[in-house]
C-alpha cells in the first residue's frame, strides 16, 4: 500500500515537473444535436497538434452541450483554476458572446474556429480575440454576390428567427442587387417546411436563398426535393458540409453553396490535410474540420515565435499568420478576422459519397463589413 502511495505521488510529481509549457482550453459542442460540428473542429485541431510533434502543448477539452451557461462555467474553470493560456473551440455565436468578452478581458487569448458574431468584429473587437474561420455574414454575402453573377433577379430568402439568421439575410442582401419575392423567418429548430415550400411555390421567385444549419437544412432539402418545386437553391456551406450531405442524399445534388474551404482547393497543405484526416478518422473532413486544423496551425506558428506569457510578442506572431492554411493564402484584417477568398461549390456524388466541388470564385479576398467600427 505504502509503495503504491509512493508511486502515485512520484507519478504526480513527474506529471507536474514534466507539465507542458502551453495549456490550451477547448470548449466545444460534443453532445446533443449540434455535436457533429464540435467533433469535427476538435478532430481537425488535434490532428494538427499531433502532426506538429510538439509534446509541450496540453489541450484540455470540455463539452459545452450547446448551452451558454455551461460554456460560461467551463470557461471560468479553465481560466481561473486550470490557468490556460489560450482558449478556442466554441461553435455557436450565442455561446461565443457569453464567453469570449470575459475570457479576453482576463488576458487570455481566444482563437475562434467557427463562431464570428458581428459584435466581436465591430465595436466589441479585442486585441486578444482572433477569428480563424469567418465573420458570420461572409458566406451569405458570397451567396448574394454569386446570385448576381448568375443573373438571379428575384430571390426568395429564408432563415431562422434568431441573431445569426437575421445576420444571414442581412448578409445576403448586402451584396445582392436583385428584387426579393419573399422574405421569411422560420422558427429555430423547425423540422417541417411544408408551409414555407408552399409559399415559395406561389411566390414566382427565380431563386431561393436559405440559411438553415444542421438538421433544419436536412429537413428542408428533403422536403423541397419531394415537393416538385424546381426553383434553384443557393445557400452557405453550413447546410452542405460533409457531415450532413450523406443524410440529405440525392436531394442536395447540384445545389450551389458558398464556402471559404473545400477539399479540392489546390495546395499541398490542403491535400495533405484531406489525406491524413481521412486516414486518421475514416471520414472526409468538413469545413469545420479544416477550421479546427487551421486554428491549431496558426497557434503552433505563433508558439514557434513567442511564448503566450509575452502577450505583445505572441499577439504580433498571431497577427502575422505565418502558417500554411488549407485555404491557401491567409491573412488577418485590422479587426483580427480573415481576409479570404470565398468559393461557390456544387454538390456532387463521388462513387457513393456526396461531396462538394468548386465551380468558381464568389468573392475574391473578401473582408468583413464591420472592420471599420473596430477600434483596437
Amino acid at each position: 500500500m505504502r509503495k503504491f502511495l509512493f508511486a502515485t505521488v512520484a507519478a504526480a510529481l513527474c506529471a507536474t515537473t514534466a507539465a507542458s509549457e502551453v495549456k490550451i482550453g477547448m470548449i466545444t459542442t460534443l453532445s446533443g444535436g449540434g455535436a457533429g460540428l464540435g467533433i469535427d473542429v476538435r478532430d481537425g485541431f488535434m490532428l494538427a497538434i499531433a502532426q506538429s510533434g510538439r509534446d509541450d502543448i496540453e489541450v484540455v477539452i470540455e463539452d459545452d452541450q450547446r448551452k451558454p451557461d455551461v460554456a460560461v462555467q467551463l470557461s471560468d474553470k479553465m481560466v481561473q483554476s486550470e490557468r490556460v493560456d489560450i482558449m478556442t473551440g466554441i461553435i455557436w455565436s450565442n455561446l461565443a458572446m457569453a464567453v469570449v468578452p470575459s475570457v479576453v478581458g482576463q488576458g487570455v487569448f481566444y482563437l475562434s474556429p467557427n463562431a464570428g458574431p458581428s459584435q466581436l468584429a465591430g465595436q466589441g473587437c479585442h486585441e486578444n480575440y482572433f477569428n480563424v474561420a469567418w465573420q458570420n455574414d461572409n458566406l451569405h454575402e458570397a451567396a448574394g454576390a454569386y446570385a448576381n453573377s448568375v443573373g438571379y433577379e428575384n430571390s426568395f430568402i429564408m432563415a431562422p428567427n434568431y441573431p445569426a439568421g437575421q445576420d444571414a439575410l442581412t448578409g445576403y442582401k448586402r451584396l445582392y442587387t436583385g428584387a426579393l419575392s419573399g422574405e421569411v423567418f422560420t422558427q429555430l429548430g423547425q423540422t417541417d417546411y411544408a408551409a414555407e415550400i408552399a409559399q415559395i411555390r406561389a411566390s414566382g421567385a427565380d431563386s431561393v436563398f436559405f440559411f438553415l444549419p444542421g438538421g433544419m437544412g436536412i429537413s428542408f432539402l428533403k422536403q423541397y426535393a419531394d415537393s416538385g418545386v424546381d426553383i434553384p437553391v443557393i445557400g452557405p456551406a453550413f447546410s452542405f458540409d460533409q457531415g450532413i450531405l450523406q443524410a440529405v442524399g440525392d436531394a442536395a445534388l447540384g445545389v450551389v453553396n458558398t464556402s471559404q474551404w473545400n477539399k479540392d482547393i489546390d495546395n499541398p497543405t490542403n491535400a495533405a490535410f484531406v489525406e491524413t484526416f481521412q486516414a486518421e478518422y475514416g471520414r472526409l473532413p468538413s469545413l469545420y474540420a479544416s477550421q479546427g486544423f487551421d486554428t491549431a496551425n496558426l497557434l503552433i506558428s505563433a508558439l514557434e515565435v513567442a511564448d503566450p506569457s509575452d502577450g505583445d510578442a505572441f499577439r504580433d506572431a498571431l497577427r502575422a499568420a505565418e502558417f500554411d492554411s488549407t485555404r491557401g493564402d491567409f491573412s488577418f484584417g485590422p479587426n483580427h478576422h480573415p481576409i479570404q477568398t470565398i468559393y461557390a461549390r456544387e454538390v456532387i456524388k463521388e462513387g457513393d459519397v456526396y461531396t462538394n466541388k468548386i465551380i468558381g470564385v464568389a468573392l475574391e479576398n473578401h473582408a468583413d463589413a464591420y472592420a471599420a467600427a473596430c477600434k483596437m
Binding site: 417541417d192 411555390r201 438538421g215 419531394d226 416538385g228
Partner: protein, 306 residues
C-alpha cells in the same frame, strides 16, 4: 394569397396534426392509465427513426423499416416499463419526471454511441416520392398525403381498440379504478406493460414516418415531445379523442399561424418588421391557444371534470 395556397396550407396543418397525434396518443394513454408522466416518450420516437434508418439502409425496404421501427420502439418501451417505470407508479410526479429525464439522457448518448454523432439517411420510398396533382390543380407531395391517411387509419384503429375490444375495456377500467380491476383478476402489471409498449410503438411509428422527410438525429424527439404535451393538455389528459382534436388544432394553428400572421401584420407595417414580429407571434400561437383553452376549460377539451 390564392385559395390554392390556403388549401395547401390546410393540408400541411392536417399532416402535422396527425403525426402529433401519434405521439400524443401514447403519451396520454400512459398518463391516463398509469398516472405516469413519461418524458422519455421523445426518445422512443427517436428510437423508431433510428431503427427505420438502419433497416432501410441495410435492406432498402421502407416497409421493413416501418416494421422495425414499430418493433424496436415497442420492445424498448416494454423493457423500460419493466426495468424502470414499474418502480415509479406510486412515486410522486417529480420523481417520475426525474427518472424519465434520466432516460432521455441515457437513450440520447446510447444512440450516439451506437450510430455516431452525424445525422442518418432515411428517404421516402420511390413509390411515394414526388408530388401529385389534386383536383383544382393543387400540387401536393404524395408522401404527405400518405402520412395523413396513415394517421387517420391509426386513429380509427385506436378508437376501435379502446371502444370495441376486451383489452380496450380493461384499459378504460384501469383509467377509472385500478384496484378494482386488479381485484377482478386482470393482470394489471401485464396490462401496464402492454399499454406502455403500445404507446411506444405509436411514437416509434411517428418517428420513422416523419424521419423520412426530416433529419434522423440524436435529440430529434424532444421538440416533438413538448408539442405533444401541449396537445394532451389542450385535449384533456387521458383522453384519446381529446388528443386527436388537440393534435389537429395544434397542427393547424402552428402551420396557418406561421403563414398568415406575417401577412396580416404586413397590412399595417413594413415587410421586414412584419416578418420578424409575425413569425415571433406565430411561434407563440400554440401556447396562446393552450392558454385560451385552459381558461375556457381548465381540464382541457375532453378532460375529466375535476
Amino acid at each position: 394569397m390564392s385559395s390554392i395556397l390556403v388549401i395547401e396550407q390546410i393540408l400541411n396543418g392536417l399532416q402535422f396534426g396527425v403525426m402529433l397525434f401519434l405521439m400524443a396518443a401514447g403519451l396520454t394513454l400512459i398518463f391516463g392509465v398509469m398516472g405516469l408522466i413519461n418524458l422519455a416518450h421523445g426518445s422512443l420516437y427517436m428510437i423508431g427513426a433510428f431503427a427505420a434508418a438502419a433497416v432501410a439502409g441495410a435492406t432498402g425496404s421502407f416497409f421493413l423499416a416501418l416494421v422495425a421501427a414499430l418493433v424496436a420502439a415497442a420492445v424498448a418501451g416494454a423493457i423500460v416499463e419493466m426495468v424502470v417505470i414499474r418502480r415509479l407508479y406510486n412515486a410522486a410526479h417529480l420523481d417520475q419526471v426525474l427518472a424519465t429525464f434520466a432516460l432521455i439522457l441515457i437513450f440520447s448518448e446510447g444512440t450516439r454511441w451506437v450510430f455516431g454523432s452525424f445525422p442518418l439517411f432515411l428517404d421516402i420510398p420511390n413509390a411515394l416520392s414526388g408530388p401529385v396533382t389534386l383536383p383544382g390543380g393543387i400540387q401536393y407531395p404524395l408522401y404527405r398525403l400518405t402520412l395523413i391517411a396513415i394517421g387517420l387509419a391509426v386513429a380509427l384503429g385506436l378508437w376501435l381498440l379502446i371502444e370495441r375490444t376486451r383489452i380496450g375495456i380493461q384499459i378504460r377500467a384501469g383509467e377509472n379504478d385500478r384496484e378494482m380491476i386488479g381485484a377482478l383478476g386482470v393482470d394489471i402489471s401485464k396490462l401496464y406493460t402492454l399499454v406502455f409498449a403500445l404507446g411506444a410503438a405509436l411514437a416509434g411509428l411517428a418517428g420513422a414516418l416523419v424521419g423520412a422527410i426530416q433529419s434522423v438525429q440524436v435529440g430529434m424527439g424532444e421538440p416533438v415531445l413538448i408539442l405533444a404535451f401541449v396537445v394532451i393538455v389542450i385535449g384533456g389528459i387521458g383522453s384519446i379523442r381529446g388528443a386527436f382534436i388537440g393534435a389537429l388544432l395544434v397542427g393547424l394553428t402552428d402551420t396557418l399561424g406561421g403563414v398568415f400572421l406575417p401577412e396580416i401584420f404586413k397590412l399595417f407595417m413594413d415587410s421586414g418588421a412584419a416578418q420578424k414580429s409575425g413569425s415571433a407571434l406565430a411561434s407563440m400561437s400554440i401556447y396562446l391557444l393552450m392558454g385560451m383553452v385552459l381558461i375556457w376549460r381548465p381540464t382541457g377539451l375532453f378532460g375529466a371534470r375535476a
